[in-house]
Structure formats: structure tokens, C-alpha cells
Amino acid sequence: MTTKKEKISGGVPKNPVMKYLYLNKGILAGALGIFLVFGFLTEFKFWGRANVINILRITSLDSIAAFGVTLIIITGGIDLSVGALMACASTYCALLISNGLHPAGALLVGVLIATVFGAINGGIVANTKIPPFIVTLGTMNIGRGIAYTCSAGTPIRISGDFGEIGNGYLMNTIPYPIIYTAVILAITYVLLNKTKFGREVYAIGGNAEAARFSGINSKKVIWIVYTFAGFLYGIYGVISCSRLYSGQPTLGQGSELTAIAAAVVGGTSMSGGVGRIGATFIGALIMDLLSSGLNFMNVPFYWQYVCQGVVVLGAVFVDLQIKKK
């Protein structure tokens, strides 16, 4: 005899931590497996504190972008402009600082530019019949072109305290980017799981037509999702700018695919309506554990691509097998 509460929630544990472990058991096991294997293969050097912190720092940056992409994929869309918008934010931020603007102002403008691009993506996707793939392919090229133009094709170097934002540590142990990501993860999680907006995102991705018949304003929701994603890419861009002490027009080349891969490994369905922020984080972690581990073992860079491809395919295949049962 089940209690009433269990009946409604369908057997998912109530405790948030247990719930998280329960929902993500598959990919968590995968991440743990990769972590263990590389540890054994490298005589436990892979488990060194510095390395672990380093991986987490990379993951936290990567997952910021992956969160944005996850939201978009849940609505049934796709975003190819990730890397280009990051580069725009990064180069503009550096350009303004090198022209003497206060770093805080430069930061804001950088984030704003990516956000505006996101809003343009969202506006076009929501109001026209142009597929998101094409829309963001267009803005990808435009964004990348602008980043190259404003930087004349070379990194814009900056100096001073600004680098602290991307390179500093909280209490000399935790890199700032990890903190930023924790905050963004929390905000995005709440947005997607606790608000009306979040339910509307899932409803639109699950069945846009049914959402419309239920009185949901899909255009507005889709616009907000792309805009918010642009905002996140902007944050990634300015943090990178600080971390590298320069605005890089080549920043994030191929990172749209890494972000999509993280989302997909985290169980986000490309047909929309399914996906979780917490799982995307682990998806990003798996990708970064993999590349870091392969680096550690001196596997040639080119082979890492092969490994990543195999992992993405394998993860989705396993996911489908589990769902079939």
C-alpha cells in the first residue's frame, strides 16, 4: 500500500540530494567511472587536488554555456551561435577596457551584446518560420564576424586587476568561476523547476500545439529562453576575457558542439520537452573529465575528438536502451 504522497510523485525520493542522485544515477555512474579509470591509469595523479580543481573550473565555464543550450533544446530548438556570442562579449569587453572604460562597465556591455544577440535569435525563432538551426547559423556568422572586426582579428590584450575575476580564488581554494557557476546553476534550476515559466518551457518543447491550446504564450517564452541563453554566453565571454587577460575573437570555436554534447549526454532530448539542468552539469563534467584525462595520459589532441564522439554516441545509445525498458 503506497501512501498518498508517493502516489502523486511516482516513487521519486523527496529529499533533494537523494532525488538528484536518483534522477542522475546513470550519468553519475559514468562520470565516476571515468574519474576512477583515469585515476588508476595515471597512478592516482589524476586525483590530485590541483587537477580536480582545474577540471571543475573548466567544467563550470563550459556548463554555463551548456545551461543556455539545454534550455533552448528543451523548447525544441537549437543554438549554433554559442561560441560566436562568447567571442563577441569577450572582444568587446577587452576593447572597451583597453580604451579606458571602467572594467565594470566593459563587463556589462560585453554581457549585454551577447544578450541582445540572444534576443535577436529568440525574436526571429519565435516570430518567423525560419528553423532555429538556420537562424542561429546566421547569427553565428554575424557574431563571429563582428568579433573579428572589432579586434582586427587578433587578441586584444588587457592588464590590471580585471584578471582577478577569472583567475581569483575564494579563500585561496575555490576558483571564482566555480562560484559563478554555482549561482547560475541555482538560478537556472529555480527558473526551470519552480516557476510557471519553467513549466511552459517543458510544455512548449513537449507539444507546442497543446501548449497553445492551454493558453501559453509560446512566442514570449521562446524569446525569453534565447535571450537568457545569450546572457549566459555573455557571462562566459567576459569571464574568459578576464581569465585569459585578453579578448579573443577565436574564443569558443566549436563550443556550441561541446555545449550540445554536454546537454545530450545529460539526457536532454533533441526533439524537445526533456532535459534537466543538473544533468547537463554532469554531462559537461563527463566531457571535461574525458579531455583532461586524455591530456594527462598524453593522448594526442586529435584522438581526443574521436573519444568525445564515441562517448556522446555511447551515452545516447545507452540512454535510449534504458528508456526502451
Binding site: R199, N207, A211
Partner: protein, 493 residues
Amino acid sequence: MKNISKHFSGVKALDKIQFDLRKGEIHSLLGENGAGKSTMIKILAGIHTPTEGQIFINGKEVKIEKVSDAKELGISVIHQELSLVPYMTVAENIYLGRMPSKKSGFVDDRKLEADAYKVLERLGVQDVIHVNDYPANLTVAQQQMVEIARALSVDSKILIMDEPTASLTERETVQLLEFVQMLKNQGVAIIYISHRMDEVFQISDRITVFRDGQYIATRNIGEVTYDDVIRLMVGREMKDVYPEVNLTKGKELLRVEHLDDGKFLKDISFELHQGEILGFYGLVGSGRTEIMRYLFGVDKGAAYNAWLEGREFKVSNPKEAIEAGIILAPESRKEQGLVLIQDIRFNTVLAILDKLIHGVKTDKKQETEIVEKYMKKMRTKATSAAHITGQLSGGNQQKVVLAKCLATNPKILILDEPTRGIDVGAKFEIYKMITELAEEGVGIIFISSELPEILNLSTRVITMHEGQKTGELAREELSEELVLKYATGGANK
């Protein structure tokens, strides 16, 4: 065809039916939805194999076990939904899957086009449809010609047409009927299915009527009247599946005047009172759904005046309609009603998220109460509220759609084909719910293609035909013959 039966998991879809077709004849197959017409066609087309019975062609018994068997025997079916590849040429479509090739293995384009031209010529449409046109750029009627050309190109002796005129304009229909006559004169035998009585009478040589999977009668067209045919089609006893409808009409809820979309719907006016079940009857595509989509704000672009409880009413999106107290349970629960990958809980509250979620705070208690209340009220059969709706049966899915609608506390509930494709038990429960709601004072608009349920549940019926309101009957005046007559355009003749 002799003694053909087809059982689907114990249910008799066809029960010892018979049918015969002569060379150069147009034989219409008539019957209500679910009478067994499509099952019989599918047997002839090789999609289903009969459970028992024999099929003879030219006096020889044949076995049609797969689609290719039917093709070899010269049987072609033109389905209601056309199946052309939109961006391959007309010639390629006609010879799809059997294009002539040269010795080199490449497609012999010249022969392909010449052959296709010959077929189009035989239909007399070679000047209207060119062999290199793309179906995407053709009208529905022209696409149908291409399908017919495809059937002719394999030298079909038997052509089955399933509601070929359902999506054609009146002029196109006239043209199509001329073609059908022409094919007949060329010696093709045609099985013709249509809900439009006027067409049937115009072109048929004979008619055969099915009802509830049984063969009823075959008649020469000269020997029957319009009314005779309808009587043959519907003449059955009503089983005791309908709750008693005993409603008192309350104050006026909705008044719609002169709804006109400039394309299809012409000058439609009606009103709805509290506690009424207003039936809308008409063939699929007669404009019933379109009216409701405009009123609910899903589609835009129709001119009309409307008043809801005396106040002017016009909405630009479904959200406004829901806030005003109108909700539409759409005709297709899978495509328009439910987010199938989500559970009952998610779907039930989908239209009332405003009420339940404030900022980041969800009123879980109220949510659970509402979900449980409607699961109980609807007698939804599911393991729990966390049951994914995609895994429910059609009837239970429909109950979740209705729960979602009722959760908004509507003044007016519009039901578009609420019982389509669901089993009798669930149907009965939905009928009961409809009458209960009407008793509580909700105004109900009930669209259905099933005549018996319209007749038994409605307190008033409006009939539609080709975008126009053709009749309005009070409960006392309702009869199968009258409703069918109006809905097939009989009133205008």
C-alpha cells in the same frame, strides 16, 4: 467478394459482408463512420487480410495477402490523404519505384517523361499538368489527378477512391466527377466512397450500404431515393448508452453574430445558453472546428460580433479566451490536447499555471487537490497522477484533456469530437460528464461526426455544410433524416 469477415482481436469489424463490382461501373460504398468501409478497402488493397471469406476477380478466386498482390491484380486505391513526394516531378511521382532505366543504370529521363505524358494525355490533362511540375506547386485537385495517373500507369482495372472530394472546392469536384465518368467509360471499375449524397446520386450506377460491419443492401441508383439511402445507413436501434438528458435552459451565455472569415465560413450566427448542450453536426471539413478555433483565439482573421454574458467578446489568443471563461477541448487529443511525454499531473494543471504558481512558489497542496479531484471525477484509470499520458489509452487521455479544461472552471466548454476513437465504456463516462456539467450550468458546445451521440445528447443541434450553417433544430424536432439531410446540403436543394 463473398462472405468476407475481418476480426480485430475478437472484435468483428466486418461480418460476412459481400460486394460485387462490374466492369465499367461506378459502385458507391455507403455507411456511417465505423460501418466497415475502410476495413473492406484495406482488405482489397492488401493492407489487411480477411479472417474468412473469398475474393474473386473475373470469376477466379484470388488471394490478396500484401500490397503488391493487390497491385498485380490491378487494384489501385486513392486515399483521402495524398501520397505524392512534393519535390519530385510529376513524371517521377507517377513512376515512383519503377522508373525506366538505361543500360548504364541511370534513369532514362526521356522515356520517363514520354510515358508520363502519355498517361496524362489519356486523362486529358496534359496541358494543365506538365510532366516536370512539382506536386508542391499543384492544387489538391491536380495532385489527385497525378495520383489517378499513377493508378492508370499500372493499368488498374479496379480503382478505389476514398472520399476523393473531401478537400476539393465545388468546381474542382465537378471536374473530378467528370474524370471519374471518363475512366468508367474507358472500362475501369470504380469503388467510390463519399459522405456527400449529391455526388453519390450523380455518378453512381449502384450503391451498397454497410452498417456496423454488416452488409445491409445493394441497390441500383434508379430504384432508391435520398431518404431510402439514409434510412438504410442509420436504421438501427439505439442502445442504452446515453444518459437521460433533462436540462433546463438558463440565461444566455454566448451570442455570436455574422461570423465570416472571407474564405470559407459564411455568416454564421448562433447563441448558447447556460445548461445547454448545443450540438454541431456536419461532415469533417464542414467548418465546425474552424468556427470554434476563431472563437477560442487559436486562429485569427474572422470578422464577427460576439457577446459573452452580455459583454462584448473578442479574443486574440487562447489565454484571453480561458480567462474569459471559454475553453476548447481540441479535436485531436494527441496533437493538440496533451503533452504526451509528461504525466497526468503536469497536463491537468497546464491551463491554470497562473493560479498555482506565484513567482517561485508552487501551491503544491492545491495542485494535488485539483489533480486528484479530476482524476476521481473523470474516473481516469491510471496507476497514479505520475502516469505518463502517452501511455494511457485513448479514452483516459481524453479524460485528462477534459480534466485540464474543467480545471479552468469554464463557463463554456467546447468539445470537438470528444469521443473520437475511444471505446464504448469511456464514451459513456464522457457522455455522463457532459450532461452533469450542463446540469451544473455550464454551456456546452458539442461537435461530433457521430450522429447517434449528437441526437441523444444535444438539447439543440446546428448543422453545417461547406462553411455554412444549414439548419438549427430543437430537441423535439431532431430526427436522423432531417439532421443528415441538412448536413449534406440537402436543405439547399
